[in-house]
């Protein structure tokens, strides 16, 4: 798919509309992912023996908070790669007159007996007919029920839960505000070894990370006044947050979630430390520009650098880490690479 579609790239964006005109049989009708998120869908490309699917996320301009939204999705992906979290390989596209992000089928490397379950299907099966907003503990309970009902090993359950906890920690570093419990997907079914399995699928719902929850005007204002930026970032909530009885306030702030995850869990603390040391926003920006062969707007780059640094500083305070030492090590590495 990549080779053919790459010819349709113009100023960073792959033009899917033009691709469709020249390949009328290229797409079959779109498959919507689920009722929650009508804007995202899988679509089928080609009619060969082995069909390929791509995940298309059209972004209507009204729906976007700002024009940087698509870049934040790609930057997020790069940051996750740096700490070993699997993410869908996104690319920029234009579809139906709107900007979009696309990815190839994430199941391609898996066995044909494996399929994707959205977390909402697990959650709604356990909490049927309730309209409460789910938190991560509800999700862990649903996974436990799933594993019990299907006689899956405790190790599988533990690995799933650990992976979700790691994603939540990395999310906090990447300033994600809209990670809901339903934003996780799982790959279930019989794996290549012929055993029943359940694992966390590469992430694909990364909207509203790296400041894309703010409007363009807000971002420009914040660049002029760093105090406002610091205040607004510290107020950011985290949707998939901790259960109410663990919170200090009404809203699930990111600090509450971080404390909840690292409290009494040394592995999570070690992972948070790894994130602080290994996540490098400058490298992420370089890689995105290289991948899309385009330039990210300067004001957004500046904002992302400042915001990421600000969040890192706050997290270091929470984790009792030496922020200046971490930054020194990072720049030392960068300088060595340049030499």
């Amino acid at each position: 798919m990549k080779e053919n579609i790459e010819d349709y790239r113009k100023s960073g964006y792959i033009n899917l509309d033009e691709y469709l005109l020249n390949n009328p049989e290229g797409f079959t009708y779109p498959y919507y992912i689920d009722g929650y998120d009508e804007k995202n869908f899988w679509t089928r490309v080609g009619k060969e023996e082995k069909e390929k699917f791509i995940y298309v996320k059209p972004r209507e301009y009204e729906y976007l908070n700002n024009e940087y939204n698509v870049y934040s999705e790609l930057l997020y992906e790069e940051l996750m790669k740096q700490v070993g979290i699997k993410n869908v390989d996104f690319d920029l596209a234009q579809y139906d007159g709107n900007v979009a992000t696309i990815s190839e089928n994430i199941l391609e490397d898996y066995n044909k007996d494996q399929f994707i379950i959205n977390a909402s299907e697990l959650l709604e099966s356990k909490y049927y007919n309730t309209e409460e907003k789910y938190n991560i503990e509800d999700l862990f309970d649903s996974i436990h029920e799933y594993c019990m009902a299907d006689y899956l090993d405790e190790e599988i359950e533990e690995k799933c839960i650990n992976d979700i906890q790691k994603v939540c920690i990395a999310d906090i570093f990447a300033l994600s505000t809209d990670r809901e419990a339903c934003d996780f997907d799982f790959i279930a079914g019989i794996n290549t070894k012929g055993e029943e399995d359940l694992e966390l699928a590469p992430l694909c719902h990364n909207t509203y990370a790296l400041g894309s929850n703010f409007s363009k005007d807000e971002i420009i204002d914040m660049l002029d006044e760093p105090d406002i930026l610091a205040d607004k970032l510290s107020e950011c909530s985290y949707s998939a947050g901790v259960p109410e009885y663990k919170r200090e306030s009404e809203y699930p702030y990111w600090e509450d979630t971080l404390y909840y995850l690292i409290e009494e869990n040394e592995d999570n603390y070690a992972f948070a430390k790894e994130c602080a040391e290994n996540m490098n926003i400058d490298n992420a920006i370089l890689n995105v520009e290289k991948k899309t062969n385009s330039k990210i707007p300067e004001e957004y780059k500046t904002f992302v650098r400042i915001a990421f640094d600000n969040r890192l500083r706050s997290i270091c305070e929470c984790l009792n880490l030496d922020y200046y030492k971490i930054m020194d090590d990072k720049y030392y590495e960068c300088e060595m690479e340049e030499i």
Partner: protein
């Protein structure tokens, strides 16, 4: 109205609509076969024997049809019966299947 839920083209659940209630039955003789092709038994837990709502597996997949229905251009004076037939035909042709899905829905009006 009868709705069948299939996994890998094997019937697993039958749902009958009687007086506005949905009555679900499992094709127990097929459960062993679907289990071997990776059907998660967990999904059976969510299905109520009698309910005024469709099981979540069916509801979520059929709701996709209504998303598409909004995009289809129907005449204003189309009869409800005709629309129902059209949607049923659509459900049976596509199976309401997602690309990574092994579930299929079949409907008989």
């Amino acid at each position: 109205m009868v709705i069948d839920v299939l996994w890998d083209n094997i019937k697993i659940i039958r749902i009958d609509k009687v007086n506005g209630m949905y009555i679900s039955t499992a094709y127990h003789e097929n459960l062993d076969a679907v289990r071997h092709s990776g059907f998660p038994l967990f999904f059976l837990k969510q299905i109520n024997l009698v309910s005024d709502e469709l099981p979540i597996i069916v509801k979520k997949r059929i709701s996709n049809i209504y998303n598409i229905r909004g995009k289809l251009k129907f005449k204003d004076d189309i009869e409800e019966k005709e629309l129902e037939n059209y949607i049923a035909k659509y459900i049976n042709e596509t199976g309401c299947q997602r690309p990574t899905d092994k579930f299929k829905i079949h409907i008989e009006l």
